[in-house]
């Protein structure tokens, strides 16, 4: 019975309250008043000292508290049957919360002496008062428990959201890095295309000019030596078709000739002896029995035409090279703006290799190209993949070693394998290398952002392809790229 009595209150607080109210009104011993509150009327403010306690008969009271940051938060709602201001009343401490009528309320206001009197009374009223107090405490305790549970679930949600946000932030950062890098590449591509275009015209003009010279010079030479008595044309052509001698052999020849013709300057003899044995025999026939002075002038004019020949040839081969570089630059950085086009992967690989030839100077590049069908790709992006992988290979090999590039295909994929002779990829980082911001490079490398492989992987995924990496048994690292047919 005693254990149960609080239950009565919990089930129907208003019954007990009204009984108490009746008792208090009936008893002359108590000096209590029943007060009426309008909505928003204040019972007491947080921090006040409280000398009376209210028993709520009707309406709802909102308890609220100011947070350290100055926000008002609702702590609890009190319903009829609840004490208002019980704790501060009992402890004498300042009120913890502000109590405001959330709706029109009716409440009994009791002073300390009445409250004590009520508990002390020997009849039913004391029991009612105890029920009221314990019921209130239980109710508050229920509330505390449910607040804790709610807090926990809110914390949980918060934690999950925080993790989610953290993940999202990380992804955003990665995307931003990628975008910056892509933007950089795009800008670079535009710049390169622009430069290629600018160089293209003078290069074409140079090539044309040297072609024209190639046509005119023999005519001029013919006019200077119409009956070919001086063999100018012969030496011009020897120069044009110059095949370099082995340098040791040439040194021997040079010594020989210097001994034979000590009066002739070395610079002249060095050039003469760079010619083939046939040519040297011919020259000796021509100058053998001539007096010193005319021998020198004759040799000098032979060499003049010989040099004209090979410098013209140098001009041709150099301008041709500029032309090749320019056309590679143009196709490498083609402004395709993300358009898929049928292309042969080997073309892009060759362009990339030509443009990286400086990096590859000390690297043996071995191409094992099989026939592969053209496939739909965004050339500029795929070239970026080749560039990233080849540059990584160069870094790994410290620019010295062997780079084997092969390709092939089956029904589903065209594949390209790029294999270096570097130290391979340590197994500890094998799973990391495609992650953004993974880099083994020091800051002094030009693109040491650690985005190369991550971007490559993304490009390939976009193409419906994939990239695999392994350390082959024979050493080094192998990247294998698959693109759908």
């Amino acid at each position: 019975m005693i254990l149960n009595f609080a239950k009565n209150w919990l089930q129907d607080p208003s019954r007990i309250t009204s009984q108490i109210a009746k008792y208090l009104e009936a008893s002359k011993a108590f000096d209590v008043e029943v007060l009426e509150f309008d909505k928003d009327d204040v019972f007491f403010n947080e921090g006040d000292f409280n000398e009376s306690v209210f028993i709520l008969l009707e309406g709802t009271v909102q308890l609220s508290k100011k947070t350290p940051r100055g926000r008002n938060i609702t702590v609890d709602w009190l319903r009829p049957g609840a004490f208002v201001g019980l704790i501060s009343f009992v402890t004498g401490e300042p009120v913890l919360t502000t109590a405001v009528a959330a709706s029109p309320c009716k409440a009994i206001k009791m002073k300390e002496k009445d409250f004590l009197e009520l508990q002390r009374s020997r009849d039913e009223a004391a029991q009612l008062a105890q029920q009221l107090i314990i019921g209130n405490l239980i109710d508050r305790y229920h509330h505390v428990v449910s607040v804790h549970v709610e807090l926990e679930s809110i914390n949980d949600t918060l934690e999950r959201e925080r993790n989610h946000l953290r993940e999202a932030l990380k992804q955003l950062e990665e995307t931003q890095h990628r975008l910056i890098s892509q933007e950089k590449m795009a800008t670079l591509g535009q710049l390169v295309a622009g430069i290629a275009h600018e160089i293209n015209n003078p290069a074409a003009a140079m090539l044309r000019a040297s072609d024209n010279l190639l046509e005119y010079l023999p005519e001029i030479i013919h006019k200077a030596d119409p009956d070919q008595g001086h063999h100018y044309d012969k030496f011009f052509r020897l120069g044009l078709q110059r095949v370099l001698r082995d340098s040791d052999q040439q040194r021997e020849k040079l010594k020989e000739w210097e001994k034979e013709y000590p009066d002739l300057p070395r610079s002249l003899l060095r050039k003469v002896t760079s010619m083939s044995d046939d040519a040297l025999t011919f020259i000796k026939e021509q100058i053998g029995d001539k007096p010193n002075a005319s021998r020198r002038s004759e040799l000098e004019s032979m060499i003049l035409f010989y040099e004209s020949g090979y410098f013209l040839r140098n001009l041709q081969s150099s301008t041709k090279r500029i032309g090749e570089i320019v056309s590679s630059l143009k196709s490498y950085s083609r402004q395709d703006k993300g358009k898929y086009e049928k292309a042969d992967l080997r073309d892009g690989l060759n362009d990339t290799l030509l443009l990286l030839s400086n990096r590859l100077k000390k690297v043996d590049v071995i191409l094992n190209f099989s026939d592969i069908p053209p496939i739909d790709i965004i050339t500029g992006e795929i070239n970026q993949v080749w560039t990233n992988i080849i540059i990584n290979a160069c870094d790994a090999m410290e620019d010295r070693g062997e780079l084997v590039i092969s390709c092939g295909h089956d029904d589903r994929y065209v594949w390209v394998s790029i294999k270096d002779s570097g130290p391979g990829i340590p197994s500890s980082v094998m799973s990391e290398i495609f992650k953004p911001n993974f880099t083994t490079k020091q800051q002094n490398t030009s693109f040491g952002l650690g985005l190369g492989l991550s971007i490559s992987q993304q490009i390939l995924q976009k193409h419906g392809g994939k990239i695999r990496v392994s350390n082959p048994e024979e050493g080094g690292a192998e990247f294998k790229i698959y693109l759908p047919v």
């Binding site: 370099l244 340098s247 300057p265 070395r266 610079s267 060095r270 040099e307 090979y310 410098f311 140098n314 081969s317 150099s318 400086n358 100077k361 000390k362 010295r400 002094n444």
Partner: protein, 167 residues
């Protein structure tokens, strides 16, 4: 003009570029024979041969990027050879990074750095200046070099030497 024992060594792997370098320095060849090498390996052989023949190398003009080696490393290696300490060294390059260049300066006593593309005047001027320094430092009789090299500097040096030996 009297041929000297002082050689100029040009190291460059691209024949077209080597032709151009040699042609640019040809004016000096009557006095300073030119030797060429297409690779670091060949350069080592040429150096060895010249030194064992009792010749000197007054000037080394070296490309930075060579197959299998880089010019800076080669210059550093050659500098370790005592007979080449006073040889003047020029790096001819399209793209040596700052780090490499600093190393060349510190470890190979690089005397000059010429960026490609260069002009004949520039290369000749540098070669004349460096060879002048070399002969003043290394040769006893520098009078024969007045015609080809920096005459003013050489006569100045002759005057100084004389006044020192007079004292």
């Amino acid at each position: 003009m009297e041929r000297s024992d002082i050689f100029i060594l040009c190291i460059e792997d691209e024949q077209e570029v080597l032709d151009a370098v040699v042609r640019d320095l040809e004016k000096l060849e009557e006095q300073f024979p030119i030797e060429t090498a297409n690779s670091a390996e060949e350069a080592r052989q040429v150096v060895e041969k010249l030194i064992s023949d009792g010749k000197k190398i007054g000037l080394i003009v070296c490309d930075h990027i060579l197959p299998g080696d880089n010019g800076v490393e080669l210059l550093i290696e050659l500098h370790k050879d005592e007979t080449l300490h006073s040889s003047r060294k020029v790096l001819l390059t399209g793209q040596a990074g700052l780090d490499d260049t600093v190393r060349a300066l510190n470890e190979a006593r690089l005397h000059h750095y010429i960026a490609k593309p260069w002009t004949r005047e520039e290369l000749l001027e540098v070669a004349v200046k460096l060879l002048t320094d070399f002969v003043i430092e290394e040769e006893e009789n520098i009078l024969p070099f007045m015609a080809t090299l920096d005459a003013e500097k050489i006569s100045e040096s002759i005057r100084t030497r004389r006044s020192i030996s007079d004292e």
